[in-house]
């Protein structure tokens, strides 16, 4: 059901610009209006969500410790998996954000006969890392369309990415990797029945969008050979708030743009916000130093306790009988 509905919406998102292209209308809306609106929603939405999280305090210091604590000087502590300092916590976050440290721990429980065996399972880590890094490379490469002159580092990135010089135009490795990784991430959701049990519209839809974006992009570069000069003219026009719609953008390009716009607008309302959330996770970004330094809870409030005096009052006879000393202040 969720799979079907996400597929149908995806199909509509592809069909609309195609039909508009064939009919020869709506270019202003598709190539200027919607991208601007989507970008605005993306920026505002992203800030709204991150600020929303940040407004809730972190009342307790609750890192998940994944290694030896810092205690006695002769015991080696895990400075990254269980950091005791702010620097260590930054290091832990860097590993988490850049290399997906926690996902790297993944293993798979398999039942053999009557026992579980926990085998290494790095595929999810590899697939996720491959997808995210190639997506980053692709986004950065796209800067060459929005900026003139193109920064040297962006050009260099493109050179490295097309290092193997396969075909003309040269094949970008990131394109191949992103497609493979996305296919893997999609197929495992369908194949692994445990996952399929919980997968929702949002899971499929995000993957469909990303796949659609990647495929339409690849198709333009290697198949229909989009007019890059025209694309750049549009992109720079958008970036400088002087939009022009050049001729010769083809049929596929508006599809690509609409899918990217949809992704951007959908982003703040969806699980894709994990991009911002990962930085704020209190089980990862805090040092495990609760016993070294008091962590303050901004809303700490007094609670009803059972005081020693109340307790002594209730058990006075029994305390006396047992010869347990009473509070001297009371006895005097």
């Amino acid at each position: 059901m969720d799979l079907l509905s996400s597929f149908l919406i995806m199909a509509a998102l592809v069909a609309v610009p195609l039909l508009a292209g064939v009919a020869g209308g709506g270019q202003g809306v598709l190539l200027v209006g919607i991208p601007y609106a989507a970008f605005a929603i993306f920026i505002v939405g992203l800030c709204w969500r991150v600020v929303g999280w940040a407004r809730s305090p972190v009342p307790f210091r609750i890192p998940t410790t994944c290694g030896q604590q810092k205690s006695l000087p002769w015991i080696k502590s895990a400075t990254l998996d269980n950091p005791s300092t702010g620097t260590g916590a930054v290091g832990r976050m860097a590993l988490e954000v850049l290399l997906f440290r926690s996902l790297f721990r993944n293993n798979r429980a398999e039942m053999y006969g009557q026992r579980y065996v926990f085998g290494d399972s790095k595929w999810l880590w590899l697939g996720a890392l491959a997808f995210h890094w190639s997506l980053l490379v692709i986004v950065l490469r796209h800067l060459r369309l929005f900026v003139q002159p193109v920064p040297a580092c962006v050009l260099a990135l493109g050179k490295v990415d097309s290092f193997f010089q396969i075909g003309a135009p040269a094949l970008y490795l990131s394109n191949v990797i992103v497609l493979c990784a996305l296919m893997y991430l999609m197929l495992r959701r369908l194949w692994d029945l445990r996952l399929r049990y919980i997968c929702q519209f949002s899971d499929y839809f995000a993957l469909f969008l990303l796949l659609g974006i990647a495929l339409s992009g690849v198709l333009m570069r290697y198949g229909t050979r989009v007019d890059v000069v025209a694309v750049k003219q549009l992109a720079i026009g958008l970036a400088t708030f002087q939009p022009v719609i050049p001729a010769g953008l083809g049929l596929v390009f508006p599809v690509h743009v609409l899918l990217v716009s949809t992704l951007a607008a959908y982003f703040p309302f969806s699980k894709l916000m994990h991009m911002g959330g990962v930085f704020l996770s209190p089980t990862r970004n805090l040092a495990n130093n609760s016993r070294m330094k008091r962590h303050v809870n901004p809303w700490n409030y007094p609670v009803k306790t059972h005081t020693y005096a109340e307790w002594e009052e209730e058990f006075r006879d029994k305390l006396t009988m047992a010869g347990i000393p009473l509070d001297e202040a009371k006895n005097d």
């Binding site: 810092k70 205690s71 006695l72 429980a109 899971d203 699980k271 016993r291």
Partner: protein
């Protein structure tokens, strides 16, 4: 007991997770809290009810209470708010939960357990969910959902294993804690948590042992220790001016095999001449508030600092207990501090300043003992533990809420000659829960406990078969209470002991008589000679 538990269903589910229907089958859920305990703690909606009944006698405005409670907690806890939003359902956590591994119930996969509350969050608190409902992963909050929450949030032991593997650090323990808080708001509590909390609040400990009985208990232990060692140790209680306040889980002085650990502490304190006191008021280190609400945790925990202040001690030493140490390490000083009336702990024997505990002023006994051993301040005869082939079970909370991994191992390796680790994916930060943590260790829940404990037992069986392990050492009172049953069921022949029981066995005390038994009163097995005796030629 039938053996169908051995057949853990591996077939993936066909049902729809959105369907909240739950069958309360005997053996898989805990009894509801008795009205008098709910009342004693001043908690809402005390009444007699039964989870298996159709009518849970919820307050008329229960739905509003839950939604208001969620709104309040979303504002108070970034963890809760963030964890409601960022899960991508990647599935890394799915087979990390011992309850899922043991039951194959898909709603025990951590991402689904969280989704039970997340779906309600989406429906009522996010724009997408309000508009698109089910398509955006939202679910209506109904009485059925409350029952489902009750079933599954009391089928999570807050062990945090899933959190180790989550790429965003989503901690199901955090979600379960909030889920239970919400349930408590409408009076859906379990007895095994609420009764101990009520007893702890009024009397001072989970078992409701009154001060005179507390003293009897400790004196009885001292007598037993004298029988084994020939040495009579002191039992200082509520003694003002002692240097150290010692706090342990109440099971240590009331249950076996915890009891032998207490004998271990007693012999250690006597041998080093520690200037310390027990407290009959703060006679509980454990804290079942952790299993019901943050507020209850604070209410129960307050006694420790209050008592330390009243007695005028310099610092606090804590016994072997799992969740107790999560509270002491991650919550205590935030909730009931600052502990500015205490000093940075210094070992009176070695002079080591426990700098890592300088603010809280509370030291774990394994840290304390490891330091003594490192400085060769204790004389040990590990041969006295030779009847044991030992493995070590990292208790969830000291492992994943603290990082106390090496200290207990150091003590064990010094106190025992035969020590073997379980497979690496089942120890340290990846340790498996006993299946009975977070207040679920009650007998009516036995089937679920045995299922949840299966992955742990499975790893013990591995070392039992490979290395002949016959003793599972641990530093958690709940482990000690529930793992003997778990072992009997899955790995017969393996016993359970505290680290300080083994230390106590090995500790050579000044002036002791020749020991013929261990602290359990069992004969010491003659040590295996290190070199085979030379063959005497015939004739």
């Amino acid at each position: 007991m039938t053996d169908d538990r051995h057949q853990i269903e591996q077939k993936p589910p066909r049902s729809d997770w959105r369907d909240p229907a739950v069958e309360f089958r005997k053996g898989t859920y805990c009894h509801s809290a008795g009205a008098k305990y709910v009342e004693a703690l001043g908690l809402p909606n005390p009444r007699d009810w039964n989870p298996a009944d159709a009518d849970w006698k919820l307050p008329p405005d229960w739905k509003q209470i839950i939604l208001d409670g969620m709104a309040e907690r979303l504002e108070k806890y970034r963890s809760f708010k963030l964890f409601m939003d960022v899960c991508v359902r990647c599935g890394a956590c799915a087979d990390k939960c011992h309850y899922y591994l043991g039951s194959s119930d898909p709603k025990n996969m951590p991402m689904v357990r969280a989704e039970l509350i997340r779906s309600v969050y989406r429906r009522y608190f996010t724009p997408a969910g309000r508009v698109f409902g089910s398509l955006a992963g939202g679910r209506e909050l109904t009485e059925e959902v409350i029952k489902e929450w009750f079933y599954y949030f009391y089928q999570c032991s807050e062990c945090r294993r899933c959190s180790v593997f989550c790429p965003f650090g989503i901690d199901t323990a955090e979600i379960t804690m909030i889920g239970r808080e919400l349930l408590n708001l409408i009076g859906c509590n379990i007895n095994w948590v609420t009764k101990p909390a009520a007893d702890c609040f009024r009397v001072g400990n989970h078992l409701g042992i009154q001060p005179h009985a507390f003293k009897d208990s400790l004196e009885f232990a001292a007598d037993e220790l004298e029988e084994v060692t020939g040495i009579k140790v002191d039992i200082p209680i509520n003694r003002k001016g002692a240097e150290v306040l010692f706090v342990m889980p109440s099971a240590d002085y009331f249950a076996t095999p915890h009891y032998y650990t207490l004998l271990g502490y007693m012999s250690l304190f006597h041998e080093i001449g520690l200037d310390f006191t027990y407290s009959a008021y703060a006679s509980e280190g454990g804290n079942f508030g952790l299993f019901s609400s943050h507020e209850m945790m604070k209410r129960l925990n307050a006694k420790i600092y209050d008592e330390a202040r009243r007695l005028g001690v310099k610092w606090i030493l804590g016994g072997e207990c799992g969740h107790m140490w999560r509270v002491l390490h991650q919550y205590m000083e935030t909730m009931n501090g600052p502990a500015d009336f205490l000093e940075a702990p210094v070992s009176p024997v070695t002079g080591t300043r426990f700098d890592h505990a300088r603010s809280t002023s509370m030291v774990h006994i394994c840290e304390f003992t490891a330091d003594l051993l490192y400085h060769d301040k204790l004389k040990l005869d590990p041969k006295r533990n030779d009847k044991w082939v030992v493995t070590y079970h990292d208790s969830c909370n000291p492992a994943r809420g603290m990082g106390l991994l090496e200290e207990p191992r150091y003590v064990l390796k010094r106190a025992c000659n035969q020590f073997h680790e379980m497979p690496e994916n089942t120890i340290r930060e990846q340790t498996f829960c006993c299946g009975s943590g977070s207040g679920l260790g009650t007998d009516e829940n036995l089937e679920m406990r045995l299922r949840g404990g299966f992955p742990r037992a499975n790893a013990v069986r591995h070392v039992r078969e490979k290395q002949g392990v016959n003793l599972l050492a641990c530093i958690c009172a709940i482990d000690k209470a529930t793992m003997p049953t778990l072992m009997d069921y899955w790995v017969p022949g393996v016993e359970v002991a505290g680290v300080h029981e083994l230390l106590g066995n090995a500790l050579v005390m000044t002036g002791e008589k020749e020991r013929t038994t261990n602290l359990r009163g069992e004969p010491l097995q003659p040590a295996v000679p290190e070199t085979p005796p030379e063959e005497v030629p015939h004739g």
